[in-house]
Symmetry: C2
Subunit: 466 residues, 2 copies
């Protein structure tokens, strides 16, 4: 925790902008409260591993603090979400967590929502609430400024804390009361435009989850309290999933659209959606036994699933009661046709762990790993080990790798166990015997494969000259 690493991290950055990737850390200065015992309250593996790896701390029922290691993963997840929202043409805003009850009375949802909504009174005794979602507020923003079809399409999103006062919060951040949500809201002149906006988010979601190392399958879904007539959930398959899902095996091999996808081409985006909605896929509540029977037995995948995203088209459900109108090319007023699109970044962190772990701990996909490399000094204090570690550390940082350098005086066994538990993709192990021979060891966390390499070659492996 000593601030000395600052000189390493920021040596010549001046006032220049450091990206997240510049952030390497010495374990001796970090706050990584590893638990040796399995916490009794944790019913599922992600909750258990997040507590054990010092990623989160419970602060109340369904309420968690994100400790430094967890915060780093959450940031990486949010960054991918944000990049893919931007790529699909959505614009980022930030709405407050506390909302006025008046807005929700306009849409009629103030009374519809039950006890899950956290209702609050301020010092003037005005009714307020902690937003469980933002359709009303964003519709208020829209109607205040947008008057013409020429300003459409419009998709505004934010990543903000939500509160839902669940009867039984559980499974750690998988089902908490206070959670982070990315919610996007599209506005279009008519159904055709709204459908195109829906499709863009659909394709954006495919890319988002794939980049996090998840295989997500879109499934027709019930619309619930958001309302509307068209909705898909994005489900990842995991043994510990909360619900039963059914899909055609074809999904497991479908191509996910690349970074060169042209989101301005409605027809091309529509074709991708068609490809991804044609084979059978349904959650338990939407399951159709008759259609399922038509899928060849060998093609049926029946498994447990975790919802990681949910998209809705709801047309004028909010624009009509709230009077959100635009003038069309016909000179007449039209209620905007809308949709909303949710992803829960806090829940996603747990879902990624559910999908990627083993008996020893978490196995992070590279794109969301809190650090790329765990550099393990087997004999901290040994001049040669320290020197080689310092050199490697500096070299990794120079090529933009995030490094967690275990420079503590813990015993090797403990260091290996911690490294496996926190699940960084690569371990680079520096010990006195290896150093004497000019060698270090690398371990791939996912495969468990270990390799002993001359230091020069190891450097090449990670993209810098020897």
């Amino acid at each position: 925790m000593k601030p000395g690493q600052a000189s390493l991290r920021c040596a010549d950055s001046g006032a220049a902008i450091l990206s997240l990737t510049d952030q390497s850390m010495r374990l001796s200065r970090y706050f990584l409260p590893i638990l040796k015992e399995n916490p009794r309250e944790a019913e599922i593996v992600s909750h258990r591993l997040m507590l054990r790896a010092g990623m989160i701390r419970q602060q109340g029922q369904g309420s968690f603090s994100w400790l430094p290691l967890g915060k780093r993963v959450l940031d990486k997840v949010c960054r991918i979400v944000r990049e893919e929202q931007d790529r699909a043409g959505a614009l980022e805003i930030l709405m407050p967590t506390i909302q006025s009850a008046e807005l929700w009375r306009e849409s009629g949802r103030y009374d519809d929502y039950g006890k899950e909504m956290l209702r609050i009174k301020d010092r003037q005794d005005r009714d307020m609430l902690y937003g469980p979602t933002n359709e009303e507020m964003v519709t208020e923003i829209f109607r205040a400024y947008v008057k013409s079809y020429k300003d459409l399409p419009l998709n505004l999103y934010h990543i903000q804390w939500k509160f839902r006062d669940e009867v039984r919060p559980r499974f750690g951040v998988m089902r908490s009361r206070e959670f982070l949500m990315k919610d996007a809201y599209s506005f279009d002149l008519d159904f055709e435009g709204a459908k195109a906006a829906y499709n863009r988010m659909f394709v954006s979601y495919l890319r988002t989850f794939t980049r996090m190392g998840l295989q997500a399958i879109p499934m027709r879904a019930d619309t619930g309290p958001i309302g509307g007539d068209l909705s898909h959930e994005f489900i990842i398959l995991a043994d510990t999933g909360e619900s039963q899902v059914y899909c055609h095996r074809d999904y497991l091999a479908l191509d996910v659209p690349g970074a060169d996808t042209d989101f301005s081409n409605d027809a091309a985006i529509g074709d991708i959606v068609k490809t991804w909605t044609t084979p059978y896929a349904a959650t338990d509540e939407m399951h159709d036994e008759a259609a399922w029977e038509k899928v060849a037995t060998s093609d049926r995948v029946s498994a447990r699933g975790i919802e990681v995203g949910h998209i809705f088209h709801f047309g004028d459900k909010y624009s009509k009661p709230m009077g959100a109108k635009v003038t069309g090319p016909d000179g007449k007023d039209h209620f905007a046709s809308g949709g909303s699109y949710g992803i829960g970044p806090t829940r996603l962190v747990a879902a990624i762990i559910e999908a990627s772990h083993d008996d020893n701990g978490i196995i992070w996909p590279e794109a969301v790993a809190p650090f790329d490399i765990g550099l393990i000094n087997m004999k901290a204090g040994d001049a040669d080990c320290d020197r080689v570690c310092d050199e490697l550390h500096a070299a990794f940082v120079a090529v933009g790798k995030d490094v967690l350098y275990d420079d503590t005086d813990q015993r090797p066994g403990g260091k290996f166990a911690t490294a496996d538990l926190i699940g960084l993709p690569w371990q680079v192990i520096v010990g006195p015997r290896g150093v004497a021979a000019g060698e270090v060891e690398i371990k791939n966390r996912r495969t468990g494969e270990r390799e002993t390499l001359p230091i020069v070659d190891m450097k090449k492996r990670f993209g810098f000259a020897g």
Copy 2:
């Protein structure tokens, strides 16, 4: 708002990580709801300009949404805060907004805090609150994990929404009820360690505000409801400031520590603090007429000030009632000695505008400008103007500049007014006459200086080959 810019922005990024600086935007696809009229409710210039420039929308009393332009500035402000916290050795976490009342009963502050605290009951009728600050919660995290002086020093910070139910919220985001705060909390074994931690934050704050183009002066301050015996406010001078402040003219010329500052050197950091606390400086409430009289009249600066940061040392005020102890090198238990350190990023955005604007609008310091360059196409639709703009736009993006490209069919007068209002540091103006002569015009927003340059030279000016 059409998503076509995605192909420009993300053409070859693959799954690579886009930084904020890659984000350029076409105005025709952006959401920038400029107001032509001065909003009547705005009493101060920053509030007026933020509303007019489409940066924020009021959602309730003391509650604001951040629209895309505002969100970009807020992000840049937060990034600088974060980088300087990290540089000084603080570690980022993220605590929830809703807290249990129990914690606050432990410290005794649940009853001390008046109506400014937003008190909430959940569905099980438990007392909760929307955190106005986090001393209690972070002390709970600390006592759960940290047992030995060997794990010190420790400084944990987060950037999270706070709520304070002010009697009279006003001045836009300058004094709102829901606001963003960076709050850091240091833990040390004894006063000496705590003082060193305090000094690191002191110096970190000097760097933070300077990087945002602000001149902030540290002044001895009252500790208020946080408690403790040592406290400084960081005040920027602005005619519209909320309070009267007094300081020695020397402050205006003091050197701000550079990026190479060694935060691990307690003595050197202490010397910087000494330099910055020796000349007279005080807010109205701490003003000492006798000391002031001793300052030469010509050295007296008496002005209006805006508080942009506040740091506190409070020793064992929280660790003692909450039982946050560590074992010292003497084998005995010691209550941790603590401090807390606040910066309000939402308020800072307004403070920057108060300090930097003219009659035509905002003048952003480069480090926090929502875009670096406003590229103005005087005749969108003209093949030559469009071609030159597209070339310049691509070239700017290639060298990492954020560009807002005004490709709309608005008249030039309106485009210039918008560009001045939103205050981007540079305007690059492309018109048919200039293009015919192979020239474009650039305008420096701060100085108002205009220059006509051959396109080739203009490109060189912004750091790329002609």
